[in-house]
Symmetry: C2
């Protein structure tokens, strides 16, 4: 399927927020609650906070198929490492959107001058994500035992994944 | 040396902020910059943000010898894991203040209902800290390669440390 990736604009936020809420309700990948991820907080976290770069994947028809955000993982003396979040629209799963966004995000982070990319919270039973990141050169550099309360599986481990750029 | 640990009050913030600035200027343990750690941000981060519990260690003479903060490491589906920050006053180092605060923080976190405590950013060449945390039951569960730009040593690894409560 043809997908293009472009910089997100404020006009994209409504659909971004809808998809985010859907994903949070699933309770299988992100730790955040709906209560804390208000529209204001979500807008800052995914789009407008300093150093935050949001891109969306769009189908040929102009439908949003997913989005990702690159941001500093830490500032200051840890500011050379990027963090990124990826969300694929539930109706566009298993079509390679995640991989396409991952590859794009690595280029984006490199262009921004980052030396590495780190994911702090990859749920260990999310095999699709872990295999994707491994195939893109990431490795598991840490495992947080029982760090995530999965909506159906209870407490499961969480991986920290990392690659240099 | 006799030290007591008590809950910090807003009146303690001035000395807490002074010590924090001193530590950030050293550039050997925390990633944050002075620019971002404004008084407002620091007050929220160490004392007043939701779920944040700050204690200070005080000498018999009433001098602040150090402080620590326990907070949720994440919220929502990761909210059962505590995070904590510890800062010993530079003039009170090597007197067991860190250990005393560490033991107190573990009790505080347990009382608050947390199931584990996690440190996300322990600089790998900070042997005093690593040995202290290991002796208090923490283990290194991850290592972020070259994650910290140390003021004099350049890029060094960072450990993630964890223990159940």
């Amino acid at each position: 399927m043809k997908t293009r990736i472009r910089k997100a604009t404020l006009e994209d936020f409504e659909v971004i927020y809808d998809v985010l809420c859907h994903i949070l309700d699933e309770g299988t990948t992100y730790s955040y609650t709906r209560e804390e991820m208000t529209p204001e907080r979500s807008l800052a976290y995914f789009m407008t906070a300093p150093g935050t770069h949001c891109y969306i994947a769009e189908t040929k028809k102009g439908e949003m198929a997913g989005f990702y955000t690159v941001r500093p993982n830490r500032t200051g003396r840890g500011g050379h490492v990027a963090n990124a979040s990826f969300i694929v629209h539930p109706e566009h799963r298993r079509r390679g959107i995640g991989r396409k966004m991952g590859e794009h995000a690595l280029k984006t982070a490199k262009k921004l001058g980052y030396k590495a990319m780190q994911f702090n919270f990859v749920v260990s039973i999310n095999e699709v994500a872990i295999n994707l990141w491994k195939s893109l050169g990431f490795s598991v550099v840490g495992t947080l035992p029982k760090g995530f309360r999965h909506a159906s599986k209870g407490l499961v481990d969480v991986h920290v994944m990392h690659r240099f750029l």
